[in-house]
């Protein structure tokens, strides 16, 4: 059973990410290369784990909260690597790898393996694109939000450092929109209503509107960087409420979108 290799695999991945962070702080061309290969290797290992796990359980590994966290760690890793390669952004690699490691550690502490079964409503071609869109959007938006806040509050930043995470925010917002609408199409096919105002859906819409505000503030109030940074942090908190925090809200017991378990 592939799942029994999760903890050792995750520990190796985290160790390699830590190594990558160690090298990136050394600040030289050669150490950057070491950092890149170390992060690439670890993210590939995590990706391979997901592939083998998927083949083993015969269903998309996206049913439980723990499984979505593995995807999230993996996609944050991928996003950080791309950003590092494209923009040479050290900040975003650091933020991304720390965040990805935190979510893997949460999974090591709460493994939540629930076996191979998949309820009929989740047996849908919409399932994978919906979840992957959302997880990639979450990865992009979280990395971007933290990077914007970092570059605004450390003040030592230049404009390009600010522009790159905002580009990711736009891409993340588009994926967030895709995820939401794919969910709506799926819901229409599975339950009859494309939108049911379930608490999870309401919070997904709240997250969407928050990032809509972020985009409007960025486009039309370019000088208000501190406002933008605060709004992005707030939006990130809202994003985490939508993904992880709904169950703690009074409205939660009405939600059908609880993760399996």
């Amino acid at each position: 059973m592939v799942w029994s290799f999760f903890v050792p695999a995750a520990l190796v991945v985290i160790a390699l990410w830590a190594l990558s962070l160690f090298f990136v702080f050394k600040d030289s061309g050669r150490s950057y290369a070491f950092s890149w290969y170390s992060a690439l290797l670890s993210t590939t290992i995590l990706g391979l784990f997901i592939v083998f796990y998927w083949l083993d359980i015969n269903r998309p590994p996206m049913r439980t909260m723990a499984e979505t966290r593995i995807w999230y760690s993996f996609l944050v890793g991928v996003v950080s690597l791309c950003v590092f390669k494209l923009y040479r952004s050290k900040n975003m690699l650091v933020i991304g790898l720390i965040m990805a490691s935190v979510f893997l550690i949460v999974d090591i502490v709460h493994p939540e393996y629930h076996g191979k079964f998949l309820m009929p409503a989740l047996q849908s071609p919409w399932f994978i694109p919906h979840v992957v869109s959302y997880m990639l959007a979450y990865a992009l938006l979280a990395s971007a939000s933290l990077a914007v806040a970092w570059s605004v509050y450390t003040k030592g930043s230049n404009d390009t450092e600010f522009k790159q995470p905002m580009n990711l925010t736009y891409l993340g917002f588009v994926l967030l929109t895709f995820g939401m609408l794919l969910g709506a199409f799926w819901a229409k096919i599975a339950w009859g209503n494309y939108w049911a105002w379930d608490p999870k859906e309401v919070w997904a819409l709240i997250t969407w509107f928050f990032y809509l505000l972020v985009i409007h503030v960025h486009l039309y109030l370019p000088s208000r960087k501190e406002l933008l940074a605060r709004l992005m942090i707030l939006s990130l908190i809202v994003l985490f409420i939508t993904w992880l925090g709904i169950k703690y809200l009074p409205s939660a017991n009405q939600s059908i979108h609880v993760y399996g378990g």
């Binding site: 059973m1 629930h114 079964f117 309820m119 588009v174 599975a190 209503n193 709240i206 009074p250």
Partner: protein
């Protein structure tokens, strides 16, 4: 907002954010007052064609404002981000209330409306304000036809279209659950509020089909533990549940109790699964043994009380698949469709969508009925056009902004 608009008195032109937020606050208070004196849920909902006329009138008003008042200062404010951001924030406030307070389908007035925000002025007025600023903002940017403006218009008009079609068209939607016994034809259903309604379609159930995963073992005490699915009960597995080892010595997918044991009951209607278990602690000491089974329509559940007070149960089997062979009749076109309705595979007839909804959970594969959800939502195509426009605008936006280095 420029520096000069920061320090000017409120309501002096040009308006900025402060005026926007003041108007938002005013509208929120107005909504609460209206809800207090004239609860929205108690007013009749406009249905077709009244709702269509209202939507067209709303669009026409936006067009008129766009062409007649284009030069006015208030128009400039309405079309600007100074109105857009406050209207988004106001709508967000209502959404957050909806996301935190548990919502129920009924409830009106103050404070009742906070439990049914969707049916109240507190939702409707902020949504209208959003549609208003969104509508004006979009019309203002449609021309000239530059790539940037097209992407902008697709996004904004798409959002306007799906929100307004959803809002105005909501009252034309019919939703009901229909329970059909085997070989029966049923042409009525139960609405979401529990009323019986006659339908222009009928469903005949020819066959109900279901497949189940093997039932899971679970241990109930102060803390509950359930085993996962990664064993095959027919292969006499040893399953670890918390600090116990449960050895399956016999498993019958269809069983019937006989004295203190169970016999194979394949082919007997309503029989359910049972397993003979031997419970050991992790050092191999025997703790208990006996049969455990699911509740069925003809037999009660059988579980084992362990010496430490915990209960070992066989959880009801979870469905892997369920679906129904049906014949669906429609009055409107006298057409008949024969097909299979499954979860994620609805059947459509004359604008009605028919979904596999439920069945007799205790009888499982032997369920004598199947229940369906039927939905008629004539405004859906308009909402989907809005969705498609948002998606296309989104792709455009990704290309324009995200590829900018």
């Amino acid at each position: 907002m420029t520096k000069s608009t920061y320090n000017k008195p409120l309501w002096v032109q040009p308006w900025g954010f402060l005026e926007g937020f003041a108007i938002s606050l005013g509208l929120f208070l107005l909504a609460i007052m209206l809800e207090f004196f004239m609860p929205l849920a108690q007013l009749p909902k406009p249905t077709f064609p009244k709702n269509a006329i209202l939507l067209i009138s709303f669009a026409v008003i936006l067009f008129i404002i766009n062409y007649v008042f284009r030069k006015s200062k208030i128009y400039h404010w309405l079309a600007s981000v100074n109105a857009a951001i406050p209207s988004i924030v106001l709508f967000l406030v209502v959404l957050i209330l909806m996301g935190v307070i548990p919502q129920f389908p009924q409830g009106s007035g103050i404070p009742g409306a906070f439990l049914n925000l969707l049916g109240s002025w507190i939702f409707l007025i902020p949504l209208f304000f959003l549609l208003f600023t969104l509508g004006i903002g979009t019309l203002n940017r449609i021309f000239p036809f530059t790539i940037k403006n097209i992407v902008f218009s697709l996004n904004h008009l798409g959002l306007w279209l799906c929100l307004s079609a959803g809002l105005f068209g909501h009252s034309d939607k019919i939703e009901a659950t229909v329970q059909v016994n085997h070989n029966d034809v049923v042409w009525y259903g139960t609405s979401t509020l529990g009323n019986h309604i006659e339908l222009p379609i009928a469903i005949e159930l020819q066959k109900f089909m279901a497949e189940f995963y093997q039932p899971r073992l679970a241990l109930f005490g102060e803390k509950s533990f359930s085993a996962n699915h990664d064993y095959d009960l027919t292969r006499n597995p040893e399953i670890k549940v918390d600090n116990l080892l449960v050895c399956i010595t016999s498993y019958l997918p269809k069983a019937y109790p006989m004295d203190s044991s169970y016999i194979d009951a394949r082919g007997v209607p309503f029989a359910g699964p049972a397993a003979k278990v031997h419970v050991l602690d992790l050092s191999g000491n025997s703790i208990a043994q006996g049969w455990i089974s699911n509740q069925t329509r003809i037999t009660p559940e059988k579980s084992i009380y362990l010496p430490d007070g915990r209960l070992l149960r066989l959880l009801p089997a979870e469905p892997k698949y369920f679906g129904s062979n049906v014949k669906v009749y429609s009055k409107a076109s006298s057409s008949v469709i024969q097909g299979t309705v499954e979860v994620n595979k609805p059947i459509r007839i004359d604008g009605w969508w028919i979904y596999q909804y439920s069945y007799d959970n205790i009888a499982g594969t032997d369920s004598t009925y199947s229940s369906f959800k039927v939905i008629y939502d004539p405004w859906m195509p308009l909402v989907y056009i809005g969705f498609a426009m948002i998606l296309m605008g989104g792709i455009g936006m990704a290309i324009i902004y995200s590829l900018k280095r």
